[in-house]
């Protein structure tokens, strides 16, 4: 193998699994350490710069960081649980003081550029957050009377209190935006006619999929589309539901629907899903939350008909199916041949998916759409095929989640800033990267290198008897400071990198002997496949890199498997020559502004 080039920012970035997995690349270990130190304001600001909505995301994030967390690969025993990264983020948001003085201010001088943002959801607000301090005049359109988009309309308040959302939306709207709320955009042509320098479409995926089976039209009065129903609940237009409720669908919207129903008068609420429990799209913790509230989830039932009595919904019938897999591993749901099952109900909520819908975008504007009716959007620049029109969030590539919307927003803001400065938007800025030794004393590091053996701590809940009575009462209480500290200590500080200097190594084996995970091997060089087998402990996770040194004095190389390194620093502590050093890798994505423009471009980071 060739020696590892640690000057490539992506090498150590990948070692910080959580940050690498985060679409916005939030420096997770950095803010977790700040939380452990009780520096909640600082922890909040690290988050705010990166993901814009720490309080919201600390409650609702899809947390791609957690499945990536190293802790899930190294813990002993039955449960291998990641650090509760998402809920630690909430700790920072809940415990911070007034941080408004640290936020950017509305630009004193405008730069004369006008940008339209369609939709006031997380993607558009991120674009606004990045561009407003630079002097752009931003015009935000939304059909709803308040900003926040799906964070407001689709996430129930018992998961995300209104005050948290209002606060974080206001941090952005206070930057001097022109808000055109309650104003639905019916024509992109009309918006373009206003002569904007750029338009960002962040309107989400606003159409809930319907279920066209017998009885749908006749019983329509008691059949509701999930996201529309949640939105009506959010704005107070709906405050009750029948006693017996069936929720169709296995995603997070279905979980929000069933839990909301329970709070609005639903007594017998059940979720009925076509697929098996494991394949459901809902996050595991959202399924658990529903189960905790006494809501049964029934699987392998395909809706067949709405049963009604002269237009009054009385129940639904379902066909029982089983999953079979063909040679290619594709799943098919086949009828079991058992008699259809019937469930009585008063209301049905259909939460079987969302679709994008762009009836308001004229097809002759130069924006190309694909066969599925989705705009053609560049995955790096977020540009459509019409110069100056950008897409982000669910509007760009279909339903994803808030953190992806934020990531899209940052990239679109960069593109818009480059475009307005006459630069090539395909040239992307390099991230800001720093790598500094953490050595404090002879065996002392700036981070807590002792590895906690605690298992993941559970977030305490309010009593279910109380929370089911009040749709606005938040279910989760959040970690208290003491538990947050202990949970934060579970973080392995993967950003404290093991940096190896081959020229200093005397090959004494001290690091090999002390490494608790057998990560380090001194051996003859070979091709990667062979080397992976030949290490002291085989490196079987090919998603994780090998760190390979240049040739040492004895002709061997040092090969370290990054996969299960605990970042405990013992290799560096036991190294007599300082050939190993623990160095903090800090990577911050470059956002819109002078530093995103051409001369700061990263070599090789170009859009197609």
């Amino acid at each position: 193998m060739k020696p590892t080039d640690i000057r490539d920012p992506s090498y150590f970035h990948k070692v910080v699994d959580c940050q690498w997995a985060c679409p916005a690349h939030t420096p997770v270990p950095e803010y977790i350490r700040l939380i452990a130190q009780g520096r909640y304001d600082d922890a909040y600001m690290v988050n705010w710069y990166s993901n814009v909505f720490p309080g919201v995301l600390g409650r609702t994030c899809d947390r791609p960081c957690e499945p990536a967390c190293r802790r899930g690969r190294v813990e002993d025993g039955q449960s291998k649980e990641p650090v509760a990264i998402c809920r630690l983020k909430r700790v920072a948001a809940d415990n911070k003081s007034d941080i408004r003085a640290r936020l950017p201010k509305a630009a004193k001088q405008k730069n004369g550029k006008r940008i339209a943002l369609i939709g006031a959801g997380p993607a558009s607000l991120t674009v606004a957050r990045d561009l407003a301090p630079l002097g752009y005049h931003l015009v935000v359109y939304d059909q709803d009377p308040q900003g926040g988009g799906m964070m407001r309309t689709q996430i129930p308040k018992f998961r995300l209190p209104e005050s948290v959302l209002d606060e974080e939306v206001a941090y952005i709207t206070d930057l001097g935006l022109e808000l055109r709320l309650g104003q639905r955009v019916d024509s992109l042509k009309a918006v373009l006619a206003e002569g904007y320098d750029a338009v960002f479409v962040g309107c989400g995926a606003p159409r809930g999929r319907d279920l066209d089976i017998p009885g749908r039209a006749q019983a329509a009065a008691h059949i509701h589309i999930g996201i529309d129903w949640l939105s009506s609940v959010s704005f107070g237009h709906i405050d009750s539901i029948g006693k017996r409720v069936i929720v169709l669908g296995g995603g997070n919207t279905a979980m929000d629907c069933c839990r909301s129903s329970k709070r609005l008068g639903g007594e017998d609420v059940k979720v009925i899903v076509r697929s098996g429990y494991e394949e459901m799209k809902a996050s595991p913790w959202e399924k658990e939350d529903a189960t905790h509230e006494g809501i049964p989830i029934l699987n392998f039932l395909v809706p067949k008909a709405f049963i009604h009595d002269n237009g009054r919904l009385t129940g639904m019938s379902f066909e029982k199916v089983k999953a079979e897999y063909d040679a290619k591993g594709r799943r098919r749901l086949l009828p079991t041949g058992e008699p259809d099952q019937h469930f009585e109900c008063d209301d049905v909520l259909v939460a079987i998916g969302q679709e994008n819908a762009f009836p308001w975008i004229e097809r002759d504007l130069g924006i190309e759409f694909d066969q599925w009716g989705m705009p053609k959007v560049d995955e790096v620049t977020m540009a459509s095929t019409l110069r100056g029109v950008f897409f982000g969030g669910d509007a760009a590539f279909g339903p994803k989640n808030i953190i992806w919307a934020v990531a899209h927003g940052h990239e679109a803001a960069i593109s818009i800033d480059q475009l307005c400065n006459g630069e090539d938007i395909r040239t992307r800025p390099a991230p800001m990267v720093n790598l500094v030794s953490q050595k404090m004393g002879i065996h002392e590091w700036s981070y807590d290198n002792e590895v906690s053996l605690d298992q993941r701590f559970k977030v305490p809940w309010n009593d279910v008897r109380v929370t089911l009575k009040n749709i606005k009462l938040e279910v989760e209480k959040g970690f208290d400071a003491a538990t947050a500290f202990k949970e934060a200590q579970r973080c392995l500080n993967c950003d404290a990198q093991t940096v190896f200097s081959a020229s200093l190594c005397i090959e004494c084996d001290a690091c090999v002997d002390i490494c608790p995970m057998d990560c380090i091997t001194f051996t003859a060089n070979a091709e990667e496949d062979e080397l992976r087998q030949r290490l002291n402990a085989p490196a079987l996770n090919s998603a994780q890199d090998l760190y390979v040194s240049t040739t040492l004095k004895t002709g061997r190389i040092m090969a370290k498997d990054e996969d299960v390194c605990l970042h405990c620093g013992l290799c560096a502590e036991r190294c007599p020559t300082g050939a190993w050093d623990m160095q903090k890798f800090f990577l911050e994505m470059t956002h819109a502004g002078p530093s995103c423009r051409d001369k700061h471009a990263a070599p090789g980071r170009k859009a197609a």
Binding site: V74, D76, I506, C508, D513, P516, C568, P576
Partner: protein, 353 residues
């Protein structure tokens, strides 16, 4: 030294031996020696050897004297018996323990100061008595605990860290052990576990006095140019005579591995177990004590460090056999066995009249 304990987490594929223990179960406390000390590598080799041999930790007794080396039994086999004795007096404590309980595996760990200076008399007698043990010297040529004065094994003409040249002739513990009747004599290097681990395993199963001299660089005081016990010098002058490549084969197990004739020496031991050695020096015969002594001395004179299994007696006699002692450990004997009574005493006395 390191302040934090070694985390208990381990590699997901870490294997268990026949007893169900992982290698980590044979570890001790975290070392307080200097970072990079060769002794820590030797501890790691002992851990590896005991794990590979499926030794029950409670069957091992580790004994030591005083010095950096003699601190190390705290850093391996945390669940075994241990005795940290007076300076240079480990051999007599070990001899006594061995006589009292012949069922344990005795691991004497000492250093060049402990064995070649203050304890040289004890070293000599434990070897000539043939006590069944592994006697391992962690040999770095300096007094590390007192800041790097030459020890008795420092080579004549080698230089201290401060540039002082050693004028005294060295004590060669390998030569002494060979001359005094040790039945298993080896030398190795802390930086070469591929050689050291099989040697330790072979020494443990050897049913007699087994001695291993392990050159173990002192990173703090003896790892500079001019030293003959530095990582670089030993790597550059290491002359291995053989390698125990094929390991220790328990008795009556068929040996199926086939290697070219003439390169392999099989050593069948008293209990039927077989050691197989891959020869690296074509004319070297590990069965001959006299030629072994000559070979080691000749190469030493050229500044070379001869390593490997230098001498092994396949049918050794040990102290218990010499003294014709009782077969069982004393702690299994009851009061009746130990004090047979007045009639028995009378009988003995009568026989002596």
């Amino acid at each position: 030294m390191t302040y934090i304990a070694k985390p208990r987490l381990h590699h997901p594929t870490l294997a268990a031996n026949k007893l169900g223990y992982t290698r980590r179960d044979y570890e001790g406390k975290i070392s307080t020696l200097c970072a990079g000390c060769g002794h820590d590598s030797i501890s790691a080799a002992i851990i590896q050897a005991c794990w590979e041999l499926d030794l029950e930790p409670h069957r091992v007794a580790k004994l030591s004297g005083i010095g950096c080396s003699s601190k190390t039994p705290d850093y391996f086999l945390g669940n075994s018996h241990g005795f940290n004795s007076v300076h240079g007096r480990m051999p007599s404590v070990l001899t006594g323990a061995n006589l009292a309980n012949r069922d344990l595996i005795y691991l004497g760990v000492s250093g060049d100061g402990d064995s070649a200076s203050i304890g040289i008399g004890q070293f000599a007698h434990v070897m000539r008595r043939g006590v069944n043990m592994v006697y391992l010297v962690e040999n770095n040529g300096v007094y590390g605990l007192t800041k790097g004065q030459f020890s008795a094994t420092a080579d004549q003409g080698s230089q201290s860290k401060r540039g002082v040249v050693n004028s005294d002739a060295p004590v060669d513990l390998v030569a002494l052990a060979l001359q005094l009747g040790a039945t298993f004599v080896a030398r190795s290097f802390s930086g070469d576990k591929a050689q050291l681990v099989p040697l330790i395993k072979a020494a443990i199963v050897h049913p007699g006095a087994a001695f291993i001299d392990v050159i173990s660089p002192c990173v703090a005081f003896n790892n500079h140019a001019g030293s003959t016990k530095s990582y670089e010098y030993v790597r550059g002058h290491n002359e291995p005579v053989n390698r125990i490549d094929f390991d220790y084969w328990p008795k009556r197990e068929e040996i199926t591995v086939d290697y070219p004739a003439g390169e392999v020496i099989s050593v069948t031991q008293h209990d039927g177990s077989v050691l197989r050695l891959r020869k690296l020096a074509p004319d070297y015969d590990p069965h001959n004590r006299i030629t072994a002594m000559n070979y080691v001395q000749e190469h030493q004179a050229k500044g070379e460090v001869v390593t490997g299994l230098l001498y092994v007696d396949p049918d050794p006699e040990d102290l218990h056999r010499h003294l014709n002692t009782f077969d069982a450990p004393f702690n299994t004997l009851g009061a009746k066995d130990l004090c047979p009574g007045a009639a028995a005493l009378e009988k003995i006395n009568a026989a002596l009249r």
